[in-house]
Symmetry: C2
Subunit: 115 residues, 2 copies
DNA sequence: TAATAATATACGTATATACATATATATGCT
DNA sequence: AGCATATATATGTATATACGTATATTATTA
């Protein structure tokens, strides 16, 4: 992982919003992100795929659902960068709205691994 | 300053390389960055202007030279994000080469404010 | 096995971003 | 004033990136 790759992954708003939720929630499936961010499924899927390709996140399949989470193997500087980003994001309206929407989602798949 | 803006400013390699040198050196003029990064003057100038517009850096004129430095008013999370980026960058070949080139520059303007 | 749900991908298009080159502006010096 | 140096900007072009829509894939359930 290089700063260039990690920063590129954070340079798009959809990926940034997704990652901020992932940091907070541990792991989320595509449908949860689609709902929370109010964006189309292909759009979320495409951005998550690019995050996976860049090894910023990892995925695991659980039945129909594919759960994404921050790659635990990220180097320390990268994790700290993400945490700093989160601290900055938590002041933003958009971030707060996203979290609220996520929490309000009915029928969230609950077979997740708790983190 | 928002994460979106700061991260966008870091998503281009020229801006990233410039910022990494600025963090280390305190302040640098356009000609020093042009030399250290081995890029055209307009390219450096354009990117520094965009960093200034985004308020990531500030500038001051000293005679013919215009010195750029990290905006001291950046919020804490942003400074920490930049430091984390620096820690990641210091492992990279490119970063090391840039620093080496900078140090090797003859006739660096020396009327800088020490930081 | 058919139908449904969740996710992924392909493809054409639109937009943003960076680039090189040329030119303009500002300062210092003689 | 005239010239050199440092920096900035304008312009057209190329490239990267994101987008919407349609379709494919994979797993579950009836």
């Amino acid at each position: 992982m290089t700063p260039e790759i990690l920063l590129k992954s954070l340079s798009d708003q959809t990926r940034l919003r997704s990652l901020m939720l992932l940091i907070q929630e541990g792991e989320l499936c595509v449908c949860e992100l689609t709902y929370a961010l109010d964006l189309s499924q292909p759009k979320i899927s495409r951005h998550l795929a690019s995050l996976r390709d860049m090894q910023v996140v990892v995925d695991r399949r659980a039945g129909q659902w594919i759960y994404y989470s921050i790659n635990p193997k990220l180097p320390e500087w990268a994790k700290e960068l993400l945490q700093a980003t989160l601290r900055g994001s938590q002041k933003e309206k958009q971030y707060k709205a996203d979290m609220k929407k996520l929490k309000s989602m009915a029928n969230r798949p609950d077979n997740r691994i708790c983190v």
